[in-house]
């Protein structure tokens, strides 16, 4: 099939309608389709999910190789051009370039690791099939956003991701908190998305095309003449990005989204939804450079979110929520990476941090998932000392936290330092946006060091581990009682539904959860984790490759040294604060009311609720108004009936009345005739 020069072995160019870029999306879509149509059992579903997400990753890697060798098709078609008249072209083609290919591989990789881990994490979950399907669809949507060369396709992937996040967060819909979190995540991001359609309409109707190249070309030329329109469009986009990336003022959905199973959090935070904003703005970064207002707004939003989230992360009582706030902070960093670049540059800085964040954050979330299964909880009390039992887990969590803190030479250091350098350089050149960014970045570097140090100290806390052991003994004693009851039941003769004893004395099957606590993830899941850990260590080497166009040859050594010193000092301070606390928690020194308020995200939720209430009140008012309208309508037939009845009475009850009416009419006509004549 691939002979006759359709496949070029040197560049891997493929002359075929179906390109690796299509496969990277389609193979992920195949997961939900096949699972829902073909499978009925979790094991079959896992076979499909594991295989196809690996194939999806393979397609992305093939695309990467094609791209490096110059054999990739730049803009492959997707579902065909929509015929929408002369005013606008809707080519709906994909776009394959350096950055999108790199992100596509990262997304495929994280998704594969998540699929492998999920099988272990949700082994006995009756809804495993639905979860794996949603993960597949989610990944497909993100790949579509990453690889799309058309704003409408971006919108498709963008909204689909919101929907999948709803499905994943609300996976355990038996729990009211999970239902609420899912609802909140979708509604908050959907509200933020309302301007997105408008922004995209401005951009594409101005350029007479929804293709991204055409939009960039048109607006780069028209920026002077139509600056206001461009700024308005970009502000609309920034609003939507702030929603999906959980930046101020939409930040509060993300920590609540921790109600979803941990693999879902890993997927949402590491590679997909939250990072999508960076990808979309990265595609349009050239335009961002043309509008100072939009840049300043983006830098302010990102800076405030970044610093605020850093503070909140330090104060969280639940370590999973700590990671959630750290995501908000890190995404702010990526967005700053886009806000500080100068006009001739591409989005490499932001994308580089996206890639590194994808690796270490996926690793950290999956590790927290693992630990939470072991100690059955994610609060400080539960997780305190959790790492002392599992050396392998200890190593990987350590790598993840070091990368998050930005310690050289891990991947987090490389990508973060590049952004700090650039902000410093442009700040010195007198760029206002870069100065805001630089100030916020310094705060965040320190805050990140503080909360990662705090998390590490909690996890390796010694006395904490003893406490956990004691509690486990207590819980074991409960388990023994349970087992006693179970054995008692199995010893009794079995009866069927009619109460007759059956012959079989089959032992009652215990749910798998009881045995799960001592397990560690299976080989596949551990392999995925190790891969992520490895990439978190050596991933920084990527900047040396030609795939990323960043200036790594001129590091600001003084700046690096100073920030490392400060980080060390902060780490020491956190260590000192943790001494003598029950769970090794440095934040225990902070007043309780501050911590309690921070755990609720400074009660931003109540603002959301108030907003929702006002909408519902409006809805009730409208509903009442409509009742009034409806009553009015209902009265119309009654009114006409009354009129008819009156006329009827006029006619039948008094036979002469009709005659009177006619004669009155005659007189009137006669009078008019006389007058007019």
């Amino acid at each position: 099939m691939l002979t006759d020069g359709r496949f070029d072995t040197s560049t891997l160019a493929l002359d075929f309608p179906l390109q690796p870029s299509h496969l990277a999306v389609v193979l992920q879509v195949a997961i939900p389709v096949l699972i829902l149509l073909v499978t009925r059992r979790s094991s079959h579903a896992f076979a499909i999910a594991g295989l196809f997400s690996f194939l999806g990753l393979a397609a992305a890697v093939a695309l990467l190789v094609q791209q490096t060798r110059g054999g990739a098709v730049i803009s492959p078609d997707s579902i065909g051009e929509l015929p929408l008249g002369p005013g606008i072209d809707v080519p709906l083609h994909l776009q394959v370039d350096r950055l999108s290919v790199l992100v596509a591989v990262a997304v495929g990789l994280v998704s594969w690791a998540v699929q492998l881990f999920t099988r272990w994490y949700l082994y006995s979950d009756p809804r495993y099939r639905q979860f794996a399907s949603a993960v597949g669809l989610f990944t497909a949507a993100m790949e579509l956003v990453v690889l799309s060369g058309d704003v409408l396709l971006i919108l498709v992937g963008w909204e689909l991701m919101g929907w999948c996040s709803y499905l994943l967060i609300g996976h355990e819909s038996e729990r009211p908190k999970a239902r609420r979190a899912a609802y909140k995540a979708f509604i908050v991001t959907r509200i933020a998305d309302a301007p997105l359609v408008i922004g995209l309409a401005i951009l594409s109707l101005g350029a007479h095309s929804t293709g991204i190249d055409a939009i960039l070309r048109h607006w780069s030329a028209a920026a002077d003449a139509h600056g206001t329109a461009l700024t308005a469009a970009l502000l609309c986009l920034i609003c939507a990005v702030a929603g999906k990336s959980a930046q101020v003022p939409f930040q509060d959905w993300l920590p609540d989204a921790m109600e979803g199973p941990t693999p879902a959090s890993a997927l949402i935070h590491a590679a997909t939804m939250v990072a999508a904003g960076t990808v979309v703005l990265g595609k349009l970064v050239t335009l961002l450079e043309l509008s100072d207002t939009a840049r300043v707004v983006l830098a302010l939003v990102a800076s405030i979110s970044m610093v605020g989230a850093g503070v909140l992360a330090f104060l969280q009582h639940d370590l999973k929520r700590l990671l959630a706030w750290s995501t908000v902070s890190q995404v702010g960093l990526m967005l700053l990476g886009l806000a500080v670049v100068s006009a001739d540059q591409t989005a490499d800085l932001g994308i580089a941090h996206l890639l590194s964040h994808a690796m270490f954050k996926a690793l950290l979330f999956l590790m927290i998932g693992w630990l939470s299964v072991v100690v059955s909880g994610t609060t400080v009390e539960r997780l305190s000392g959790a790492l002392s039992k599992h050396p392998e887990a200890r190593r990987m969590v350590g790598i993840g936290l070091l990368a998050l803190a930005g310690v050289p030479p891990l991947v987090g250091f490389v990508s973060k330092d590049l952004i700090v350098d650039e902000a410093a350089r442009r700040g010195i050149d007198g760029d206002f946006t870069a100065r805001i960014a630089f100030a916020a970045l310094i705060c965040v570097v320190l805050l990140t060091a503080a909360y990662t140090m705090r998390m590490w100290l909690i996890l390796i806390h010694r006395t904490g581990s003893q406490r956990v052991q004691v509690r486990e003994w207590v819980e074991d004693s409960y388990d023994v009682q349970d087992v006693g009851i179970v054995e008692m039941l199995t010893d009794l003769p079995q009866v069927d539904i009619h109460g007759r004893p059956t012959d079989r004395t089959a032992p009652i099957e215990l749910p798998d959860d009881l045995e799960l606590a001592d397990q560690q993830p299976g080989g596949g899941a551990r392999f995925g984790l190790q891969l992520l850990a490895l990439l978190s260590v050596v991933g920084g080497l990527l900047v040396l490759s030609p795939m990323l166009d960043v200036d790594w040859k001129h590091p600001n050594v003084w700046l690096i040294g100073a920030s490392l010193l400060l980080m060390g000092a902060v780490g020491l301070l956190v260590r000192l604060m943790s001494v003598g606390t029950v769970y090794g928690d440095a934040a225990a020194r902070v007043p309780l009311f501050v911590r309690a308020s921070a755990s609720r995200g400074f009660a931003v939720d109540s603002l959301y609720v108030a907003f929702g209430r006002s909408i519902v009140a409006l809805a009730q008012a409208v509903s009442r108004l409509d009742d009034v309208l409806d009553r009015g309508v209902q009265r119309l037939p009654a009114l006409s009936a009354t009129v008819v009845r009156r006329a009827d009475r006029l006619h039948t009850h008094r036979p002469t009345s009709g005659l009177v009416a006619v004669s009155v009419g005659l007189v009137a006509v006669g009078l008019m005739g006389v007058i007019l004549w």
Binding site: G80, V156, I191, A194, S204, I615, V622, P637
Partner: protein
């Protein structure tokens, strides 16, 4: 292939009349016979519609020369999708009626009325003559009234009578206005042919007056805010099959009428009225969305969401751009499929629950009835305009179309409308998730999910109907091109005429 032009509408009409009349004879028709006859008639009609859609035959004869009325049957890109959808939905409705046959009358009458409504709908989309359009338009009223009044919700006879009465009186009022408009146009143009009407435009002032009459008349059918009051009532009471027909066929006749009788022949009038109609449409979007946020009856909620969705269709039609028209025609079909799906599912739920009150706590549907719950999720996800499903393209493109309206329409005002429309889409997400949270997720408090109850899930015909509609929803969402390409040629022609 001209025979197909007759077969498509006449097969259901004749079969329907035969069933209704046969029911009055000495031996009433059995349920099984009625079902088989209806199914065969509908399949024949669907086949004929496919032939018509593929072959596009034309029949143009003198009919009533006294009023210049002709027997002109033909299809173009605008009517083909509607024709096919009506015939296909007709088959599904018959299948569904076999599964859920409401009390209140004999089966033959029920099936007969369904067939008459479908036949009238098919005829509406086939005729190319304003007077015959009016006739076909009116044919559906009486059988629909019977469906609502006799086969509707058994719980409240007074409400049933009132809903049916409101439906008929309201739509007859609309039809009267429409007839006046049609006659004015016909006498001015000297022909009743739709193409002829478009070819002989009137003076702008007259156009505005006639367009206003027609828009009020057709706006009742669409329905356009504030003329929508009959719709929630009728939908709430109507049997499931009747609701599906109301949403997928009757409402579409209204929008089709707007395209044929208003947008095409009266471009100047539409241009003058567009800001007002567009405003009503957007108020309808917001109004419907808000009412859905607090509505307690599930069926009524779906009916209200129709008001919101039809607002997008009207907004697209009023924008006067190719993109807006394409969007409106797409959203029109999409709404037909989605609301048919939703009414099938919601009607099934009402049947099972005994009522459709959202405040009653029930077990989560996702665990109890996996098949029905999947259809419900697809339906509501499509209703909120989720990409990959049918609702997305029409609504997004309608907003795009309204952003740069054509002709001398006030751009600034249409942009305000577009912004409010995009807020309306957010409301759609709000109410869709509200329903999913109550019905799909359920009110459970922890613990493992309950076991499914296969006996209570969708089976047989009901499952067939919901899966076909779900599949259609997905196909339209993933491959919008199949529909946009069909309508594109006719829309370009239309734009060439009205863009003068």
């Amino acid at each position: 292939m001209v025979a197909a032009l007759f077969a498509a509408p006449l097969a259901p009409v004749v079969a329907g009349l035969a069933l209704v009349v046969g029911d009055r004879s000495i031996r009433s028709v059995s349920r099984h016979t009625a079902y088989i006859v209806s199914l065969v008639a509908m399949l024949a009609s669907l086949l004929a519609s496919i032939v018509v859609a593929y072959d596009r035959p034309v029949l143009d004869r003198q009919w009533v020369p006294e009023v210049g009325m002709r027997l002109h049957l033909a299809v173009d890109g605008i009517s083909v999708p509607l024709l096919l959808m009506t015939a296909a939905v007709g088959v599904l409705v018959v299948l569904h009626a076999r599964h859920e046959q409401p009390a209140g009358g004999t089966p033959a009458t029920f099936f007969g009325c369904l067939l008459l409504v479908i036949g009238g709908g098919i005829a509406t989309f086939l005729v190319q003559d304003a007077i015959s359009f009016f006739l076909a338009f009116e044919v559906v009223l009486v059988p629909m009234w019977v469906l609502i009044n006799r086969f509707g919700d058994r719980r409240d006879p007074r409400e049933r009578a009132r809903a049916a009465g409101t439906f008929v009186l309201y739509t007859v009022l609309g039809s009267t206005l429409m007839l006046v408009g049609i006659l004015t146009m016909s006498f001015a143009a000297g022909t009743t042919d739709l193409a002829g009407l478009a070819a002989n435009p009137m003076s702008p002032g007259k156009q505005t007056a006639v367009a206003a009459l027609l828009l009020i008349g057709l706006g009742i059918k669409v329905p356009m805010w504030p003329l929508h009051s009959w719709l929630p009532r009728a939908h709430t009471v109507a049997p499931t099959a009747g609701s599906i027909l109301l949403a997928a066929v009757l409402l579409k006749m209204g929008t089709y009428g707007v395209v044929r009788l208003v947008v095409a022949p009266l471009p100047d009038g539409v241009e003058r009225l567009a800001p007002y109609v567009g405003t009503c449409a957007v108020i309808g979007i917001i109004w419907g969305g808000l009412v859905c946020l607090v509505e307690r009856s599930l069926k009524r909620l779906v009916a209200w969401s129709s008001v919101a969705h039809m607002g997008f269709v009207l907004l697209g039609l009023m924008s006067g751009t190719t993109i807006g028209l394409q969007a409106a025609l797409f959203a029109n079909i999409a709404h037909g499929v989605i609301s048919a799906l939703l009414f099938a599912v919601v009607g099934g739920l009402k049947h099972r629950w005994g009522d459709d009150d959202l405040d009653t706590a029930r077990r989560s549907l996702r665990d109890v009835s996996p098949r029905l719950s999947l259809a419900l999720v697809i339906g509501f996800a499509a209703s909120m305009g989720l990409p990959g499903l049918a609702g997305f393209w029409g609504e997004v493109l309608a907003i795009f179309g309204a952003w740069t309206p054509g002709g001398d329409r006030p751009t600034g005002w249409f942009r305000v409308l577009a912004m409010f429309a995009s807020l309306g889409a957010v409301l759609a997400a709000g109410y869709a998730l509200r329903v999913l949270r109550i019905v799909w997720h359920g009110p459970a408090e922890g613990g493992l999910p309950p076991e499914p109850e296969p006996a209570g899930d969708a089976r047989g015909n009901e499952w067939l109907v919901t899966s076909v509609l779900s599949a259609a929803t997905i196909v339209l969402g993933v491959i919008p091109l199949i529909l946009l390409q069909t309508t594109s040629g006719a829309v370009d022609q239309l734009m060439a005429v009205i863009g003068r």
